[in-house]
Structures are given as structure tokens and as C-alpha cells.
């Protein structure tokens, strides 16, 4: 390459964002004359709410050559088949949004059309009776999917629930072993070059200066570089997703390890439960204008299953995203880029996506504006699409028992989401994008789980009578239940594959 290459990458901030970026860069840039330096301060705690993930993380790990069992042991990880949503459509409801599809096509008609018709005709089996991962999750069972496409066990995927701090440490070891230089220190300034306004370096509290060409801002909500130095600006989405605080506390548990996350809707927000091998992570995401910090903490403590093993920790945030995630020579990744509550475990995925896109659009020192422009276009779309999916969970509710739920149930939602809801409700059609992390199956799981049942179905299904449909579904249901009950318990499976923390 002729002398215009970026030679020095500086990552500001550790945690999951910083070390995922460092590890990925270390792997990808191996053999190239590009140095990667990560500056973090042990003084600054990392947020670590993003402890549940989506299946894409497995490809991230695999590309880095990470062994699953080793990684799970070192991060106290459990498997994740999906997320259980309690009390979202109505109080008392429970549905699981799995990593997998429901049922199978019959006579060329997508399953959910037929299930909706079955439900309207009086069929009593819930749609989750037709999901192997949901049935398995509810029984605390897990096994790896079967690669054979003809097997029912090939129809689902999985992710992990892990200690984000331990994952960051794991990736730190990986990255440092591949040449990433870690600098302990606190960044207090980022001077800009006079003409271009580009960041020249970061200045540490002890006076050291770290020079670089490409800067990656993983400094969290503060956005030391992207916001404090470059003032990119923030697009605030609180009117759609009004929760603005969280309180988190880990606790002990003797329960069998469940292979799913739980999100329980409360009076003015929701509580997560993320079971790891050595503890359960709990948190309450809430809207401060509807509930006080103390009441939120008490509500959380009131519903955890065991002894707290640390003091509850509070966080404040504003849901939204940076106007530009890549501005000049700074790319914000993680919380510095924006925030969406972890309702669908998207935080780590958005980091992974950002890192991947950065590598796809890796700049040189000509700083072609089209790199940042296209990167931003793609990331903006992704954030909006996740946002809309999260809004759906709040808006598609029948709850009217608190002012918070009345607000979210009646609020004006983005036009594209309103169109989606209407199209599914009327006709069972899933409006979806070409790209985006949530496939049709995810939208279907949340629609049906939150009681958005299509009023009409695909007319091609009329080839079946209601009786014929009910009988087919009965056979399917029995087959799925039988397969699910044959899977091992997660505790046993972890031991079997050597992923159990001794």
C-alpha cells in the first residue's frame, strides 16, 4: 500500500465495546503494519448491562477462532434459546421469543397464517407449542442444533448469556496476545487539528499523549470523542422509548440453569433476569417520570429470587443515537454510538455490527467522505429498525393499569411501525426489510405473543378445512413435545461439553 494507509488505531475505553473492537481488529489486521492501542481506566466502571446476546455472536467468536467450551467456562456463560416476556400483552401473559421459526409451511402457506386461523376456529394450542426451542427452554433443556436440514433439531439457533466483564477480560487476553497495546489511563482531552477538525491525539490525566489516525470511541455514554470533542449531536428517542434509568443487582440462585432470558413488564418499565453459571443478573429498566429510584430499586429487590450479592447499581441513559456515529476520523462504537434498552439483547450485537462495518469500510488517510457516509447510512438504518422492534413490545399492549402503560399504548409510533402493525393485524403479512437483525420469525413471535392476531389469513390456506388443519397441528404438536422432552437438561449438557464452570 502506498503511504496513505492508516497506521495507528486508538480505541478509547474498554469494556465489551472496546475489547470486542480490539479483538476483531487484532484478528483482521494481523500481518498489516497497523498498530492498535486501547486506552482504559480501571477507575471507570463499565456498565455491563448487555449480558445476553443473539446468535450472531457465535459467528463473531468463530471468526476469531474462539473455542466455545473454553469461552463459556471463562465467562460463566449459559446457553440462550430466546427471551421470555411476562406481562407485556396483558398481566399474566407469558410468551417466549425464540431463536427459531414456528411450525412449518403446510401446502405452501406460512405456518403463522394457519395457526392464526386455527386459533380463530377455536384451536387451543398456543403458537409456542409449535416451537422446539420454546418447549425446550420451558423445560430448562438444551442441546446444540443438528446440522442435518431434515431434522427438527436444525430449525433453531442459540446464543449465550455471559458475564460481560469476564467476556471483556477474555477478549482482552486474546487481543493483547495478538499485539494490541493496552494503556492504563484516563482520557481527559482530545485536541483537534486546526484546519480539518480531525482528532490528532488523546491526552491522559497523567499528561501522556496517545497519537493516532483512526480513533474509536468506546467511552460509553459520555462519548468523549464523538460528542465532547466533535459534538456530533444526539437524536433523542425518549418519546417512543421513555425508560431512562436502570438499577441492577446480581443475586444467588439454586434454580436449574434456564436457557433463556426473562423480561418481566412491571408498572413503569420492566425487569430482566439473566441466569449465568455462577449468579443471576437482574435489573429494572424504568421511566423516572413514572417511578422514583427508590421505588424502582424496591420493586427489583422485591422480585429477585435469591440473596443480592452486591449493592444495587443505578444507571441513567437517554434512548437514541448519535447524529453521526462516524464523524471525521472518529467512529463511535457501543454506548458512545447510541443506546437502546436491552429488551431484545441488542447491545452487543450492535457493537459486533459496528466493528464488522468498520472493517468493511476501513478508511485510509485520504478520509474519503463516502466511507463515513455509507457507514452512517447503514448504522442509522440498523438502529432505527431495532428501535421500531422495541417500540412494538411497548405499544402492542392491552395493559391500562398504570399511566406508563396508558402512555405507551396510546402514543403515536413511527409510520413504518404503524404500517407493519396494521398489515399484520389485518392480514397476517410480515412487512420486513431486506436486511436487519430481526427476521420474520422474530416479528411473528412478538406479534402473536402480545396478542396481535391476524384477522384474516392467506387465502391459499383455504385448501384445508378447519378440521384438517386442527388434526395436522395436533400431530405436529405431539412430535415437537416429544422431541423437546428428549433433550438433556442444560446443567447436564454444560458438563457434557466441558463448558461447566468447575
Amino acid at each position: 500500500m502506498e503511504g496513505r494507509a492508516v497506521e495507528r488505531v486508538v480505541i478509547v475505553g474498554g469494556g465489551t465495546a472496546g475489547w470486542m473492537t480490539a479483538a476483531a481488529l487484532a484478528h483482521r489486521l494481523q500481518g498489516l503494519p497497523i498498530s492498535v492501542t486501547l486506552v482504559e481506566s480501571e477507575e471507570i466502571g463499565t456498565v455491563g448491562v448487555g449480558e445476553a446476546t443473539v446468535p450472531h455472536i457465535r459467528f463473531f467468536n468463530a471468526r476469531l477462532g474462539i473455542d466455545e467450551a473454553d469461552f463459556m467456562r471463562r465467562t460463566s456463560a449459559t446457553f440462550k434459546l430466546g427471551i421470555e416476556f411476562r406481562n407485556w400483552g396483558r398481566k399474566g401473559d407469558s410468551y417466549i421469543h425464540p431463536f427459531g421459526v414456528f411450525g412449518e409451511e403446510i401446502e405452501g402457506v406460512p405456518f403463522h397464517h394457519l395457526w392464526a386461523r386455527f386459533a380463530r376456529a377455536g384451536g387451543r394450542d398456543p403458537v409456542e407449542a409449535f416451537s422446539l426451542p420454546v418447549l425446550a427452554a420451558r423445560m430448562d433443556r438444551f442441546a446444540h442444533p443438528d446440522p442435518d436440514p431434515d431434522s427438527l433439531l436444525s430449525t433453531y439457533s442459540y446464543a449465550y448469556q455471559f458475564d460481560a466483564g469476564l467476556y471483556a477480560a477474555y477478549l482482552r487476553a486474546y487481543a493483547e496476545a495478538r499485539g494490541v497495546r493496552r494503556v492504563e489511563g484516563r482520557v481527559v482531552g482530545a485536541p483537534l487539528q486546526g484546519e480539518t477538525g480531525f482528532v490528532e491525539s488523546v491526552v491522559l490525566q497523567d499528561g501522556r499523549i496517545i497519537v493516532g489516525e483512526l480513533f474509536i470511541d468506546c467511552s460509553g455514554f459520555r462519548g468523549l470523542l464523538i460528542e465532547q470533542a466533535l459534538q456530533a449531536g444526539y437524536e433523542d428517542w425518549s418519546h417512543w422509548l421513555p425508560c431512562d434509568r436502570a438499577v441492577a443487582v446480581p443475586c444467588r440462585s439454586d434454580a436449574p440453569l434456564s436457557p433463556y432470558t426473562r423480561a418481566t413488564a412491571l408498572d413503569a418499565g420492566w425487569a430482566w433476569r439473566i441466569p449465568l453459571q455462577h449468579r443471576v443478573g437482574n435489573g429494572h429498566v424504568y421511566c423516572s417520570s413514572h417511578i422514583s429510584d427508590e421505588a424502582a430499586r424496591d420493586a427489583l429487590l422485591g422480585q429477585i429470587e435469591g440473596e443480592p450479592i452486591a449493592e444495587p447499581r443505578f444507571l441513567r441513559f437517554t434512548t437514541g443515537r448519535r447524529h453521526k456515529q462516524w464523524d471525521r476520523n472518529v467512529v463511535a462504537i457501543g454506548l458512545a454510538a447510541g443506546f437502546l434498552e436491552p429488551l431484545e439483547s441488542t447491545s452487543i450485537h450492535l457493537i459486533q455490527l459496528a466493528v464488522g462495518r468498520l472493517l468493511d469500510h476501513f478508511p485510509d488517510r485520504d478520509w474519503d467522505p463516502f466511507c463515513a457516509r455509507e457507514y452512517n447510512r447503514l448504522m442509522d438504518l440498523e438502529y432505527e429498525r431495532v428501535r421500531d422492534f422495541l417500540i412494538l413490545h411497548y405499544h402492542a399492549t392491552e395493559r391500562d393499569d398504570t399511566p406508563f402503560w396508558n402512555q405507551v399504548r396510546t402514543m403515536q409510533v413511527p409510520d413504518s411501525l404503524a404500517h407493519r402493525l396494521e398489515t399484520f393485524r389485518k392480514r397476517g403479512v410480515v412487512v420486513n426489510y431486506r436486511d436487519g437483525m430481526f427476521l420474520d420469525a422474530s416479528w411473528i413471535a412478538v406479534y402473536l405473543g402480545q396478542r396481535v392476531i391476524p384477522e384474516t389469513s392467506d387465502p391459499r390456506g383455504e385448501v384445508l378445512s378447519d378440521a384438517g388443519l386442527m388434526l395436522r397441528l395436533a400431530s405436529m404438536r405431539d412430535e415437537y413435545a416429544q422431541m423437546a422432552s428428549q433433550l438433556p437438561k442444560q446443567n447436564a449438557f454444560l458438563e457434557r461439553i466441558g463448558a461447566h464452570v468447575g
Binding site: R28, H361, F370, H419, R427, R434
Partner: protein
Amino acid sequence: MSGDAAVTSVAIAGSGLAGWLAASLVARALPDLAITVTETPGPDRSLGVTTAAEILLPDDLLMLGEAGWNGPDLLRECRAGFLLGTALTGWRADGAAAFMPFGEIGAPLGPVPFHQLVSTQRRRGEAVNLANYSIGALAAQAGRFAPPPPGDETAHSALAFGLCVDTQRMAAMLREDALERGVQLTGALSDADLVIDASGPDSRFAGAREDWSAWFPFDRVASARRSSEAPPPPYVHCDAHAAGWQSFAPLADGVGELFVFASADAPGAPPAEPFAPGCEVAAWTDNVVRIAGAAAQHDPVSGLQLHIALADVLRLIALFPATRELAAEAAEYNRQWREQTDCAFDAALLRLARTGARGAVWDRLRASPLPERAGYRHDLYAANGRIVLHDGEVLDEAGWIAQFDALGVQPRKGDALADALPSERIAAHFAAIRQAMIAAVGRMPPYQALLAQAVA
């Protein structure tokens, strides 16, 4: 059920290829419906323009296969020729010919896409012809062809082919199928729950319209069918000239010719069919859904008229109204149709507006600024070789790359990490690909033999 009655009757306005395509596919998908087709007299403009031959893309063949129309039937009934891509002459500033193949070109090296490797080498001074790494292009060049084997492990697996069909023969084939399935031919449009308007740009259901003549200067089309002794080659040949372009599409026993030009730039040209590019503001209003040429009249340079007609029909089937209260289906249909229309607009415009073709009309096109969406696509590719993909694309990523590259658009930069790869490494990668492809092509039979066998 909401209480509204089901849609039980469909009236299709227009008996051209689009109308019979709709009749046949809808009758197959929903055999309960009472379907009628009204004749439209005169030449078949249902796809937007009158043509002798139309193109089915590789994906279209898959879709038709799922609907029950297999390749051998299409070949035989529609006097079809195989298509491996399009050969271009007269389109590049350097005067060279080019080939736009179907399917993937080359293979990535780790995470680096092939076309970025090409960009890296070219900026290092190496001349690289993209088509040399397309098994379809190599086969076409060698006059050989064989459909790819099942599985996707070999060099041959990357070969993607389409079909070039005789427009009238295909319409007749679909008509026969539709009539066999109980579709009725009527003289006058009957009262029906749903009307499918397949009557082309002269539709009586035309509503508010967007006119694209400011972007597309070509307003005359002439088509002809010419017989030939030996089957023409397995690709469309598209040749640019001073006032427009002409294309030659290969049928089993002849050639479909299309002459397109701008009347302003060809005053002495013989009379030809007028053509007005544009589209309806909405395809589906009330209970009338306009498809193919009745909904949008795209410039025929992309050759996507039949693809779009098929996409419209399949979309309608997927969104077929469950009841006569069909507003939800119509809204979603219109949204998807609009995305497709926008993407097809961009594909055609970029195919015409940023080329090296010689002539006043081409100068004017080059000098005009592009509208924002198409402009961004072009500018991004010209900057660093990346392809924007919206939701309703008619070309896939490989198709866009093939188009830009064939027309001579050279990105200023590529993938910065690819630029760090040593030249020898990339060259070795290229050589291995080419070697495997040439060996695979060598094992294929001559194209003419395969065609003769297929229509036997």
C-alpha cells in the same frame, strides 16, 4: 373473519403476456377463483413496450419452477434460448466491448469481496477484465454451456443462466394453461371482486401518473423478429449508437430485435412505436391492481419487463386479498411495488446516464445531474466500489457491479485492507479461480448441441 365476504371473482383486463401470466399463475395458486380475461386488440404492450423476445432472469426461472413451469417446458414452448448475460458494444469510452454476466463473479479472498481485489490490482496498473472470472462469461465466449450440477462446491456451481423467450409464444403457452384451468375469455370486462389491469400503458384504469421523460430521453421503440439458420449465441447483444441503442435477443430459431432511440436525435428514422417512460402514482387503487406495463413503463434498456411482470404477479398472489375489504393488502402491495419501481428506475437510469457512448443524446445524459437516490448509488461506487442495496432491488449486488464495471465506471478507491494484500497473493487467487473455471468450461458441451437436445 371480519364478516366481509371472500374475493371469489377476478377480472383480468388485457390478453397479452402480462394478462395470461397473471391468469395462469393466479389460477394455479388459487384454483377456487372465477377468473375472466378480456381481450385487448392490437399489439401486445402489456409489459410496457412491444417486443419480440423477453428475458427471464435466473431467479425468475426458480420462481416459475415453483409455480409449476419447469425449464424444459419453457424452452420448448417458448422457442427459448439460454442466456448467460449481455454483451455490450459501443457503451464504453475506451471503445472496448464488455460483458455483463449473470451470477457471481470470481470468489472472495477471506473477507475481501472479489471486485475489491480487482480494484486493488487495477489501481496498481494491472489490466483486469471482470468477465474473465465469470464462468458464465467464459462459457459464452467459448460457445459452450451446461446447467450447473446440484450442490455448490465447484466452479461450475457459480454459473447462473436465464432464458430468452419468444413473447408471443410464451403468451400463448400461458393462455392455454389458463384456459385449461377454467379461466374464461370474455368480450367485455365483467363485474368482479378484483380487477387485474394487465392492459399496458394505454390502460383505461390509468390514474395520476409520474412522467420520467426528463430523465429518459428515449421515446421510440421498434421491435422485430428475424429468423436465423443457426441458433444465435447464449447472450443478448446490446449495441449503443448515436441516437439510442439496439439489442438482439437470442431465441431458439431466430432473434428478437429491439431498436430504441430518441426522436429528437433521429429525425430521419422510420416511424416507430412511441414510448413514454413513467409510472402510476399507485399501482393498486380500490379493487383495481395495475401490473407490469399498466403500472410502470420502464426504459427497456435493462430488459427487466418480464421480470417485473412476474414479480408483480407473485406479489399479488402473496398479498391476495383475504376479503373484499382489501385496503391492508393494497397498501402493502403499493409499498413493495414502489420500492421495486424506484430500484428499477435507478438501474435503468444508471445504465444510460453514465456511460461512454458517443452521440449528442449521450452527452446530454452525461451532463445532467442524477436524482438523489440514483446519484448516491453511482457516487458511492465511483468513490470506493461499494453497492447500495435497498429493499426492492431488481439487480443484486453482483448485477450492479457487473453493470457499473461493464460501462467503465472505475472506483477511485477500494477496500483499504485489500490494498494491503501483496499483488502476488491476489494474482495467485485470480489464477486459481480462472483455471478452475476454464477447466469446467472445457468439460461443457457446445451450446448449440445442448439447445438442439433441449428442444428435441
